[in-house]
Amino acid sequence: MANERIDLPQGTLDLLILRTLALAPQHGWGISERIQQISSDVLQVQQGSLYPALHRLERRGWIKARWGISENSRRAKYYELTRAGRKQLETEAGAWRKLSAAVAQVLDMA
């Protein structure tokens, strides 16, 4: 089965972004790279979904942006978690874990 482009639901994508930023501030390109890396290329976030998600999170106040210099000495917009964002991450991650556990239970039921 090839790597089809799955459109991650909003909630899941937001969650992944928040989690990635929890480690360190990052710019958009870096975020999608990191997600791809860690998931061993299973998760490939398209630009068309990434940037709207970033704006959404910014509007909700869970991340904030500032301009900095990137690795190749270019100006880039860096995003970082806000305090509210950290709290949201915990809540979301918890809910997600519960849901996936529930689904796993169903899938494994005898």
């Binding site: 089965m1 799955i6 998760l43 996936s100």
Partner: protein, 112 residues
């Protein structure tokens, strides 16, 4: 995620997968499927009728289940759904895919 998380918030197509899995042991009608999902997941998964029946129609359309009228517990007519051979195959492949995706997401969420 809202107060009543739906399986679709996990990954698209999760609901279809769950229904297929629930039907694996044997035929069931709509109410039974919803009830079973709720039971096995300790009340976490509450599938509403507004998502359940359209999903069942979709499975019918794809030929992964078939439906027959029978009598329900309270002696009324109800439609019982059964997995087809294609449906069983689909269950296996979807489950693999699902596990892979969830695993990947989990990895990201677990990084220190």
């Amino acid at each position: 995620m809202g107060k009543h998380p739906t399986p679709s918030e996990l990954l698209p197509g999760t609901l279809d997968l769950l229904i297929l899995r629930t039907l694996a042991p044997g035929p069931m009608h709509g109410y039974g499927i919803a009830h079973r999902l709720q039971q096995v997941s300790d009340d976490v998964l509450q599938v509403g009728e507004s998502s359940l029946y359209p999903a069942l129609q979709r499975l019918l359309l794809n030929g992964w289940v078939k439906a027959e009228w029978g009598a329900s517990e309270n002696n009324r007519r109800a439609r019982y759904y059964t997995l087809t051979a294609a449906g069983r195959k689909q269950l296996v492949s979807e489950r693999e895919e699902f596990t892979r995706m969830i695993g990947a997401i989990q990895k990201v969420l677990d990084t220190a």
